[in-house]
Symmetry: C2
Subunit: 106 residues, 2 copies
Amino acid sequence: MKHSLETYKFFFGALANPNRLQIINILRQGKKNVGEICVVTGFEQTMVSHNLKVLEYHGMVFMEKDGKYRYYAVNKKTIKPLLEFIDAHMEEYCCKLLEEQHERKK
Amino acid sequence: MKHSLETYKFFFGALANPNRLQIINILRQGKKNVGEICVVTGFEQTMVSHNLKVLEYHGMVFMEKDGKYRYYAVNKKTIKPLLEFIDAHMEEYCCKLLEEQHERKK
DNA sequence: TCATTACATGACACAAATATCATGTGTTAT
DNA sequence: ATAACACATGATATTTGTGTCATGTAATGA
């Protein structure tokens, strides 16, 4: 642990939100501007902007301006292996139980 | 993403807490029972138990009973590479800015 | 058997995070 | 110049997460 506990907290906190995770997941298919993300997700523009800011702050997405549009791209170098790693962890240690419980809540 | 957004949310949420991170960090030195964790951290027993439960639920620590004691061990196979990976990410994408800002809050 | 120790669990008040609402800024088009 | 569009930012109410308090359970020892 090279950093402060608070720093790790904020890093993981940035990923501990289903809407941000959905945005990340959508951006994995390729860069999109804010409006496009809204259309695909059905989220409001302000919410998307707020959440993109959090993700950008933690280096999980990158922004690129193009006229009045702002294109966001996921940090594949981090996100891809991170998600794969966690999938592997879940396969081994977490359980169907977990998935089932969350499904039942809906 | 093989699992639901909620599942990832809870996984990352389990790590998005400085007290749990401190417990994890302490357990990296070796397994400890609840009382020992309390002494080292200065945390209350109930808080430690609650947080250990969250960590155990997500496969980040393992429990082993020994009489009236319960020894907890960190899941090194997951935690060690995960933290190393995130350290590397922060080195590259996140910044001193981040650390500084959090320091200033104190 | 009955304390005592070690830890877990449930309920709840407080603190933090979140989405939404209102508004602001920069860019393009007319 | 100004209207329309794309997006960001600030404030706030509400949800969610957290630690603490009170209590419960299992194991050990006297």
